[in-house]
């Protein structure tokens, strides 16, 4: 296992190199010139030329890439053209918001998705199954921005019981903590702020979890159905075990393996920034920030965000594979090479 993990970590290097090459060249070739955006309406052609020279944008593109790579390896992702702030600081300021929302969404999606999936499998072709599948279909089909707007219209604009924007009421915001507001407010014992944070989380969490919940529901259902038809389940039933015990202890546990993979990958996807949800709910995470920076041709920030997302994806994949192997001892990674 250790050898496998080391091998997978080494494989991350070419993947990340590939990602940096693609994003670097896409931004340089397809994006528009950042100079007019950065220098403003009154900038002269001479001032823009001087600025490009200052920031090395006149250098050959391969040289710009090498400079970027050398700095990135040393932990320096550069400085935002637009705000003149180090990219790492910009990302660090926004990532906790994205991560907190993603974690809440995946928890809600997992609990609801597994419950609905099991219900659908156990009650196959009955009302509960059909209802679960319709819900899953809605979750997969409905665009996030649409479901978000509907929830805002109902709970914020009409019923006035939930806030529509932001992570917390600014005057209650915990300061100087980790940036994970649930944790920070609990650590400080500020339960008024904790309530406010949780209230702000409700609508974005529900919106963001809908798609993942639908995927998890469908995966759980199909995996459960496969397991329920296995010989050992028939044997368990023949031995007279209680239905609940068979479904939960024998079937669900074995059906969870593929579901855990899906949950892991969904979390990786959500951690990469939920652009539409963050936009609709004015959630101050990295998804919305990345798009703003693309529109401003702020190359260093775009590169930094993409690199961060790639690292998250690669490591979530790795984590899923490791947990998978751990949960199911039959799986032996790299057996062929070792054997």
């Amino acid at each position: 296992m250790l050898k496998y993990i080391l091998k997978r970590i080494l494989m991350v290097i070419p993947v990340l190199l590939g990602v940096t090459i693609i994003i670097f060249f896409i931004t340089r070739v397809l994006a528009s010139d950042p100079a007019p955006v950065v220098l403003g309406e009154h900038a002269t052609a001479e001032a823009m030329a001087a600025w490009r020279a200052d920031y090395g944008l006149d250098d050959p593109i391969w040289m710009q890439y090498v400079n970027f790579l050398v700095s990135a390896i040393q932990g320096d992702l550069g400085t935002s053209y637009y705000t003149h702030t180090p990219v790492a600081s910009e990302l660090a300021a926004r990532f906790p918001a994205t991560a907190e929302l993603a974690l809440c969404a995946i928890i809600v999606a997992s609990i609801c998705g597994i419950a609905l999936g099991v219900l659908a499998a156990v009650k196959k072709n009955k009302l509960a199954d059909n209802a679960s599948m319709v819900l899953a279909l809605i979750g997969v089909s409905m665009p996030v921005f649409w479901s978000g707007i509907l929830l805002i219209l109902l709970f914020s604009a009409t019923l006035h019981i939930l806030p529509s924007s932001g992570r917390v009421t600014p005057l209650l915001q915990p300061t100087g903590g980790t940036g994970f507001f649930i944790f920070d407010t609990i650590a400080k014992g500020d339960f008024e702020a904790l309530g406010d944070v949780l209230v702000h989380l409700v609508l974005p969490t529900v919106t963001l979890s809908l798609y993942s919940m639908a995927i998890i529901t469908r995966m759980t259902r199909s995996s459960m159905l496969e397991t329920l038809n296995a010989d050992y389940i028939r044997t368990a039933r023949a031995k007279g075990l209680a239905k609940r015990s068979v479904n939960v202890k024998h079937a669900l546990r074995n059906a969870m393996l593929p579901v855990s993979t899906v949950i892991g990958l969904q979390l990786g996807s959500l951690l990469g920034g939920a652009l539409l949800t963050e936009t609709v709910f004015a959630w101050p995470g990295i998804g919305k920030f990345a798009v703003d920076c693309v529109l401003k041709s702020d190359f260093p920030v775009v590169q930094g965000v993409v690199l961060l997302v790639a690292v998250i994806f690669v490591f979530m994949n790795l984590l899923v594979d490791i947990i998978y192997a751990w949960l199911d001892p039959r799986i032996k990674y790299g057996a062929k090479e070792e054997g």
Binding site: P36, I149, L171, V199, A282
Partner: protein
């Protein structure tokens, strides 16, 4: 075999995971129900007692910086103008310059090259240091060459450039309360520059010293009615009242001003209707009814903008011919177009400058709508096709973006036998394309900086092709602009700009379309709020009823 070395078994792991998930879910449910009922009474997601003495204003984007030297965006300006003050400011409804940190208007030498400015005594920065002539000198000198750097977007506009022989040559602290500014050349708009929220406001020298060389200050510190408290990126900026504010007659009436960043227009409106914000900016004209129908106030006043269509006057092009430009202008019913696209939230432009800016002259005659005459001229000139570029993004002078305009113009011109091929770009790309694409007509606009006529009228005289998108090159017009900038305010200067307006109407490098209105929504509990036409909101006289 490795799994045997782990400290807990798979069964224990699954158990722990389940417990954690269930615990978090329960916490969430408790929080949801508790928090929900807490806010239910007033339906507002505000924060109990603390919110009673705060006003929340929605911004559409994160400020670029909170140091006047380092931003060029309206969002930063709205926040900063409450933290910092300049030597001068504007009157409430227009661009008339009033003393602020100066005690009176400057004494300007006859040649227009020396400004002697008397400063207010007893004013302190938020960090407790004194405001005086040395502070003014330090604050301005960091924006002058050679201290200036390329990250200061408004430095050259406000304080000029040595290479162009314009702007400020030296700043001298004559004594603690007197500053003498020497100019390289006379510039009547300089006084208005000093009243702007960008570059000009005076920053604490201590804060400048604490910042890294060539970087924005990290702790915003001015003399304004509000002090900086916190900036959470992409989320909010919080200010608190400056209890030691020097102008006791206009002391801040609200304890906290919170600027909340909400980019999405519909979410901004909901946040107002749900009580999360007290004032929202950049209301889309098509959503204005939602605000008034919900019992909220709509602020709708003229802004400082011009929305226009430019003809590419480059030699050899279709629109190099003035008669063609006139004929195309005759084919377009501007009044109908403005009414259809913007409704009552923009006014038809009869001059380059907005209605409220002197020296507006309503008698300037723009080309009248006359499709029959247009058809005859264009047929005689053999014009059957035009290439048009436009922008897809909403702009301050055009809340709907340029595509709707282009489509309507395409419709008008098809009626006179001209096909218009439209190419659209996002704004950032568009800024480059107006300098490189071979277009015949393009849509553009301008948001003024300082309320001075030169700031609008010099655009068609600019050598920068992204400013002068008509690429118009008229020596007579340029001479008028050069004369206007050096002529002191008064009848003579007004006459110069009136002549500029008439030349623009006659030569038709632009087809004037509209002047936009600033649209904001606000709670009826908010009292004393106004949005200045230069695009900032001052909060020192604003309060909110409990």
């Amino acid at each position: 075999m490795e799994e045997n070395k782990l400290k807990f078994s798979r069964r224990q792991f699954m158990g722990l995971l389940g417990t954690a998930v269930a615990g978090t879910a329960m916490m969430g449910m408790v929080g949801c129900s508790g928090g929900g009922s807490e806010k239910k009474g007033d339906g507002k997601a505000a924060s109990g007692d603390k919110a009673a003495d705060s006003i929340t204003y929605s911004l559409t984007a994160d400020p670029r910086a909170l140091d006047p030297a380092y931003f060029d965006d309206g969002e930063s300006a709205v926040v900063s103008c409450n933290i910092y003050e300049g030597l001068y400011g504007f009157a409430e409804k227009n661009a008339e310059v009033k003393p602020l940190l100066a005690t009176e208007l400057p004494e300007i030498s006859d040649d227009g090259l020396t400004y002697t400015i008397k400063l207010r005594e007893g004013v302190k920065f938020h960090d407790g240091t004194d405001f005086n002539a040395d502070a003014v000198k330090t604050s301005i000198e960091r924006l002058l060459e050679p201290n200036r750097n390329s990250d200061q977007p408004y430095a050259s506009f406000v304080f000029g450039e040595e290479a162009a022989n314009s702007g400020v040559k030296t700043v001298e602290a004559v004594d603690a309360t007197t500053v003498k500014i020497t100019m390289r050349a006379a510039n009547t708009s300089f006084l208005k520059n000093l009243a702007m929220a960008l570059a000009s406001p005076i920053v604490s020298p201590k804060a400048i010293e604490a910042a890294s060389a060539g970087s924005a200050i990290t702790t915003p510190c001015g003399t304004g009615p509000y002090k900086f408290v916190d900036w959470t990126k992409s989320a909010s900026v919080t200010l608190e009242a400056n209890e030691d504010y020097w102008d006791k007659d206009n002391a801040p009436k609200t304890k906290n001003i919170i600027f909340k960043i909400i980019a999405e227009g519909n979410t901004r409106i909901t946040s107002l209707l749900n009580g999360e914000c007290d004032i929202i900016s950049s209301v889309d004209p098509s959503s204005a009814n939602q605000i008034t129908d919900g019992g909220y106030e709509l602020f709708s006043e003229d802004g400082m903008t011009i929305n226009y269509m430019a003809f590419n006057t480059d030699e050899g092009g279709i629109c190099a011919d003035k008669e063609v430009r006139k004929a195309i202008a005759q084919a377009i019913n501007v009044e109908e177009m403005v009414s259809a696209i913007y409704g009552e939230y923009a006014s038809v432009a009869n001059s380059v400058m907005p209605l409220w800016m002197a020296p507006y002259d309503k008698d300037v005659k723009q080309t009248a709508y006359d499709p029959d005459a247009a058809k005859a001229t264009l047929a005689a000139k053999g014009v059957t096709k035009l290439a048009c570029i436009t922008y897809s993004t909403a702009r301050p002078y055009n809340a709907k973006g340029g595509v709707e305009l282009a489509n309507m113009v395409q419709g008008y011109l098809s009626k006179v036998g001209v096909d218009v091929e439209i190419t659209q770009y996002d704004w950032t790309t568009y800024k480059s394309k107006v300098q490189t694409d071979p277009y015949d007509i393009c849509f553009y606009g301008w948001t003024g900086d300082n309320g001075d006529p030169d700031n609008f009228m010099n655009l068609p005289a600019d050598s920068n092709r992204s400013m002068n998108v008509a690429h118009w090159d008229n020596e007579e017009y340029k001479a008028l602009i050069a004369k206007g900038i050096a002529t002191p305010d008064g009848d003579e200067r007004d006459a110069i700009y009136k002549q500029c307006e008439e030349m623009m109407a006659e030569e038709q490098p632009w087809l004037l379309i509209s002047h936009s209105k600033n649209l904001l929504g606000y709670s009826p509990k908010v009292k004393g709020f106004y949005y200045h036409p230069t695009g900032v909101a001052f909060f020192k006289g604003v309060s909110k009823e409990a």
